[in-house]
Amino acid sequence: MRRHLLLLVVLALAMAVATWWLGWWSVPVVGAAWGAARRGEGRPATTAGVAAALAWVGLLALVANRGPVGELSRTLGGVMEAPGWVPLLLALLFPALLAGSAAALAGALQRRGPAA
């Protein structure tokens, strides 16, 4: 369990660093690498999804330290004519789905077919 948590944190950190340096598209790339590397072990797709969400939560927390992220979310929600928490939720779901699906896809392809 502890090892699993440690891996999750390491993966989240990797995704945060990749996002910082390369941009949002690096999240599915890291997720795919994770899925390929951890194929057949536990649930790499779930781990990748959670790690991506955690990574972006952490980065948003850094931004929030320097400005009103909650207020911005409310404003964006207003622009989208949706509740103010929707943009923040989107900011977590989006990387989670990208990383999770990329990990799942990479893991499945690594097995090279149903018999693998």
Partner: protein, 827 residues
Amino acid sequence: MAARRRRLPAGVRYGLRIGTAAAVLGAGLVVGFRRSGPLPPLGPFLDPVHGVWAVAAQAEVPTRIAVPTLADTVRVVFDDRAVPHVFARNEADAARVLGYLHAWFRLFQLELQTRVAAGRLAEWLGPSLLGFDRQQRALALAWSADREYERLAPESRLAAVLDAYAEGVNARIAELGPRDLPLEYRLLATRPAAWQPVHTLYLMKRMGYTLAYLPDELTYERLVQAVGPAAAAALLPVNSPIQQPIVPSPRTPRVDTLILPPPVLPLPARADSAVAWDPDPDRRDASNNWVVAPWRTADGHALLAGDPHLDLSLPSIWFEAHLVVPDTFDLYGVTFPGAPLVAIGFNRNVAWSFTNTGADVLDFYEEELDDPVRPSRYRVDGAWRPLESRIERYRGPDGRVLAQDTLYVTHRGPLRRADRHARSMRWTVLDAQNVEALREAGRARSVVEWLTAMEGFRAPIQNGLVADRGGDIAVLAAGAYPIRPPGGSGLSVWDGRTSASDWQGTLPPARYPYARNPTQGFLASANQQPLDPRVDPAYLGAAWPSPWRAMRINQLLRADSSVTPDDMRRFQTDPGSARADWFVPEFLAAVEREAAAGHASEDARTAARLLAAWDRRYTRTDERAVLFEYAMEALDGRTWDEFATGPARGYSPSSTILAILLRQPANRWWDDRRTADVLETRDVVLSESLAEGYRRAVTALGPPDGGGWRWDRVRHQNIWHPLRFRALSALEIPVQGGPGLLNPSAGSGTHGASWRMVVELGPDVRAWGVYPGGQSGNPLSAWYTDRLPRWVAGELDPLPFPATPDALPADRRLAEVVAVPVPRGGS
């Protein structure tokens, strides 16, 4: 027995797993990289480092200013209202830093305004804006700006300033990293384009359109079709029947005789071809300004107040700035983001403000073309002349060409074709506007110097009120007034086949409406007819806005011979109404007469009792103004029912015409055309309108004293973000104001005082001001709407006016930035 779950074959499960993952990933990547309907690409948008969230962490004011072309060091001190005080050593550097600051605070607005004038909104917002773009380009604003810029001598001071300003704007654009992009660019998934010097002229042309595109001849043409030429001429009179001119005239205010000839009936059957009217006729751009001579003020110093009324927006159309270049200028006021000039403001000696004159500076000409579909020539004096043409291509956000038009231009101006007509337009705004005159006026050291500088101003014609520390006050309605051929009317469409129809020049400055140090000790303008036609009958325009605001401010100033700056401030949101003073007694008298004759309804008598108790003040807690306004709307509808259908469908004559009609109780205009056998008179219509207004108020708002009639629950200002996002706008703001008041609020409530300023010209110039909004265009900034509460309350902020950077009091100092020349590629 539970059914045994059938397990899918491994191959199918594998296929499903891989298919689902691929579908989710594919969908995620598609919405990540590409627009989805109104949504921007979600990847770069939601990115927590480089995406929209970075807007939350953007600085409130610049911490460094790097303009590669600066010639010298510039000190910029921000006061506690985020107003920059720019201390430069030369004029070009001041323009560079102002350009940089405009871009820093208002970049999206800067570009948006230019795109509006250029008719290039569809490139940002898609095909739904194509119609708007076509209208704008047909006006040839960009065409004329390009032409004006090409003709500008490269060595001229204006060219140098426009170039310097563009360098400042572009310096900011060049340094924009992914985290610095304003919110709107992220929502539209676009990046700012480079700023060209000519874009400033685009903005000035667009202001010209806002203030001086008054095609009254088209209105007149439809009215002629609807009610005949005699009635049409009376509905759009050349001279206001209620005279309270800007240039003081003896025995005014004065009511002149104006008989409204009856409409020609039956109406021509052209209703379906009619173009819908502006649904908000009271919106016509307006403004107030007034000056008081020292001998009428409490402290013995000249006082000036100004509040230009425009479409309100968030961010505001204005950006406050203080620009200092030693021995050249030291001026404070409001600037347009996009232009290197202080439009309204003051310097160490002089203060000035503008209202729109609304003169007739536009004419249409019916042209004869060689080919109605693909013309190449037009005929003048029997000879064919070549048409100038320019291809206009309209693109969408993806760069695809949505449509293409050809803009044709005669020697008069752009040509428009519709309904078998080919009409060219002559319009002073399309000529050189000479904004340099405004810049020159900002350097004036006295009223006389200011007036001299403004004589060169061309368009849009403005009523400039000015005062100086020496105690002089003056007004000059400056700009190019066309001289038309004798016998012609500015309200008719001219025959383009003859050069005899062309303008013969413009009035010399000596003929501009002007007054200086009048014996009454004050001057006031509120868009009313500038000259009393009994003093000077020259045709300057027609269909002047109702003079209610002018009458009210004259009344207030006449009654006060010891005016203070705070009086000036109070007057700007004065709740009194000359319009209500005129109409309320008429309603009451009509109901009384109808009641005496046994005709007044119970509702009319109840409404009259309520209205009689009203003090005619539109305060926010007032509970009777709504009854009056509803009654006025009913009166408008019942009186002008001739315009319910037909070519002038939706038209509503000004309330001045209605006021004059009140003096003609049996005029046929009072007849309600829905009642075929009855000829209504004034009293019947007034009485029934009041009853209708009462019933509407009770139905919509409840009983009169139930609290629902409070004015602040009915009348609101709505200040929209240009992209019409409610979340970025300030809506349903209660105000102390109303139709025809000094603080106007009518129709959709999108129009109002865009800047309020009071200046006292004593030994040291003192000034106060406010606009609805704040300095920043960032909706997350503390300075996006910080001034709004004080604007709503009618309060003004003291404006610090330091002579040196260090003279700004410490308790009002927010930050200081020293802008230094930075070599290209440096940091």
